[in-house]
Amino acid sequence: MFNPIFQDQIKIGLALNSKKYEFSNFHNLSSEPEQNGQPPTAHAPRVVETEDDEEEELTLKYGAKHVIMLFVPVTLCMVVVVATIKSVSFYTHNDGQRLIYTPFPEDTDTVAQRALNSILNATIMITVIIVMTLVLVLLYKYRCYKVIQGWLFLSSLLLLFFFSYIYLKEVFKTYNVALDYLTLAVIIWNFGVVGMMCIHWKGPLRLQQAYLIMISALMALVFIKYLPEWTAWLILAVISVYDLLAVLCPKGPLRILVETAQERNEPIFPALIYSSTMVWLVNMADTDRPNRNSTEAASSQQEPPQPVASPAPSSPSQDDGGFNSTWVNQQQHQLGPLHSTEDTRREIQQMPSARPPAEDDDEERGVKLGLGDFIFYSMLVGKASATASGDWNTTLACFVAILIGLCLTLLLLAIFKKALPALPISIFFGLVFYFATDNLVQPFMDKLALHQFYI
């Protein structure tokens, strides 16, 4: 269904980018066989001009399909979070524990005090996030890759083992089923190790996507449990604003990160970005990849230093130039019960692309969405289902709002073709819908139901 000529141009353009002339690896070259073996420069102008014609048409074609490709994981994540919230009371039960980042309690006597406390909490959190982001950008700029990778490794280790242990414990408690230590150990061990392998090394795409969804859901559940209400909503709002600023302002840390990565022509982190298609680079440099020691933690250096298909306008055929969506925004802050893990979690949100996009991929280009986005979307929907008086109405309203926001963001992405923050639009819609539904629609529905008046 894709225009084969365009695909050829893409491949040639990509070959220009990556300086590889592995045309034999490309499929669908049947329409232009005479180009094989000819120097690519001769085709450069042709690449550009046909590109432009095809661009408009193809961005739209890509748009719908990729929107759907992102809907599914976001929906799944939200479903998992909402299902857990509804069934496992642990996550809604406020047992007075708070994170050190939100030291001010919200069960105060006066509303004003509560408001003040929540503002202070949110401020502390945002400051922590900003500091973390800056640290990350600095580390990246000064090439301290090992530190970053170790950080990421530790944080995913924590998520995969510790949080899933707690999750499993609570689920079994809720359903009143006995579980012995041996089986538990086997389950957690397997889940964790295979998860680490899938995320940081190699694994089947579906499994990797599933793991990313699961850890996002776990993280969102932690947030929902440990953030008091007003603080949570405030944080969501402030994070969206911060996201917007960090990605779009010229001096924003995330923008600096992206630009530095582009200058160095390397994939941004071996970190956690959800990518909807596989990313496997079929070129010569890859043949020695699998022979590397699989116990190496960081996979980033294992990826060949291909130019990342980040939205660099210079190369006309960046494959998912328009769709490297919001991987840059991940710097969402994570809270955690343990201080040391705070930092590690922070990292997770730093999304930059886990793997370089599939450049030689003649199927659909992938869309990438950062895990921080998953986490905050799920957190919004989860909080809505946990604390709203309107219950399912509100939950569904928020869900729809977030998806609409996601569509709009992807549309903007297709138009602007640069890294965009995924949070602001969706979170804004979500918040508006949440408060509106909770306070306006629900009482209305209640009254109608009370009077048995169906509309």
């Binding site: 230590y181 089947p204 596989m278 699998p290």
Partner: protein, 112 residues
């Protein structure tokens, strides 16, 4: 990752790596001394199943088949062991009294 993209040698080495990870990790691990990773074997089997059995033959396929078969065997063994143990545990937990409680991670409330 999309298996069709991989050249055959890489597929083989990937399959072998997964299998070997179990063997290599075995001496190194804490609580049991074994790697205890049936899930990894499951992933191996599922992922490479099509490659090993449903594709027209190519040179490395034989080895891939061997590894897939061995992983499947190991997996079946583990499943049998776990199922047996769980049946025993769930059935006799109450009767074991204190030992049962010590073994339990979560103890159901209200049921003896």
């Amino acid at each position: 990752m999309n298996l069709e993209r991989l050249p055959n040698e890489e597929k083989l080495s990937l399959c072998r790596k997964y299998y070997l990870v179990i063997l290599v990790l075995m001496p190194l691990i804490f609580s049991g001394g074994f790697a205890f990773l049936p899930f990894l074997w499951l992933v191996n089997v599922v992922w490479f199943f099509k490659e090993a059995f449903l594709k027209p033959a190519y040179t490395e396929q034989l080895l891939i088949k061997t590894y897939v078969k061995r992983s499947a065997l190991g997996l079946l063994l583990w499943v049998a062991v776990l199922t047996t143990w769980n049946i025993i545990f769930q059935h006799f937990r109450a009767q074991w009294g204190e030992v049962g409680d010590n073994l339990s991670f979560t103890i159901p409330l209200g049921i003896p």
